[in-house]
Subunit: 145 residues, 2 copies
């Protein structure tokens, strides 16, 4: 996604901009890029749901978590919690017993991210009907053409 990895399309875009791109106000392109990458990683459906479940229910074992997250496959659950662990959003505690026991718990960072997503959940709940209505209208206006 780096500038120099872009091919024709991107170069055309850049070339169109004025000769010397003056650095706008306050703006760190590295932070910008990182934030974008992080958002892409974190604003993922399963990540958001897992964050939500763990924030509400606290520490939890794998199978319980699997039951709580509607519709996820084992594979995706494993993969998603691993990513979250890597990003420091949760801790994964393996108890060396048999049968295995692994507990998942949000870190401070995970808890604060889940709090940050709160507004989005609220928005979705509040705008449910409005969105359904908008879709209905849009789809039927397509039919008329």
């Amino acid at each position: 996604m780096h500038k120099f990895s872009m091919l024709d399309q991107e170069q055309i875009k850049k070339a169109k901009l004025a000769p010397a791109p003056p650095p706008p106000e306050e703006f760190d392109p590295r932070l910008e890029a990182f934030v974008n990458e992080l958002i892409g990683r974190v604003a993922d459906k399963w990540t958001m749901v897992i964050l939500d479940v763990l924030a509400e229910q606290g520490e939890m074992r794998f199978t319980r978590l699997w039951e709580m997250v509607e519709g996820i496959s084992q594979k995706m659950l494993t993969k998603t919690v691993r990513q979250m662990e890597r990003d420091g959003l949760l801790t994964r505690t393996v108890h060396p017993v048999v049968p295995p026991k692994v507990e998942y718990k949000l870190t401070e960072a995970g808890l604060s991210l889940s709090a940050a997503f709160c507004g989005v959940w609220l928005w979705a709940a509040e705008h449910q009907e409005q969105v359904e209505e908008a879709r209905r209208k849009f789809d039927e206006s397509l039919g008329k053409v």
Copy 2:
């Protein structure tokens, strides 16, 4: 994603739960499902960036928007704004002139969603270093095994 479309895995999961699943507190499964679907649609990388750009810069034409959204292809931009239009997040005003002129502008719903995402952007900016550090540690601890 409906309950009855689930196959073995899901049935196994359900069967494990106690005989009569008592309806917990306040909880509408239809709302829950819709919110999940909507989150999945809206918590998309490009949607979030476009929301951000339009919220900051106001109304904008296609090419300008394309310049502002780093790294997106024409195809994805078209597709994403169409979805957003369908969901009622933005309006697409076509001026019947030549060369074509199309303006994109957030609706109230779009603006409020972008506001809801504000916390997430902040979180990402604030936790950048922490996340990088966590990844570094995680990756090197893998190397030791």
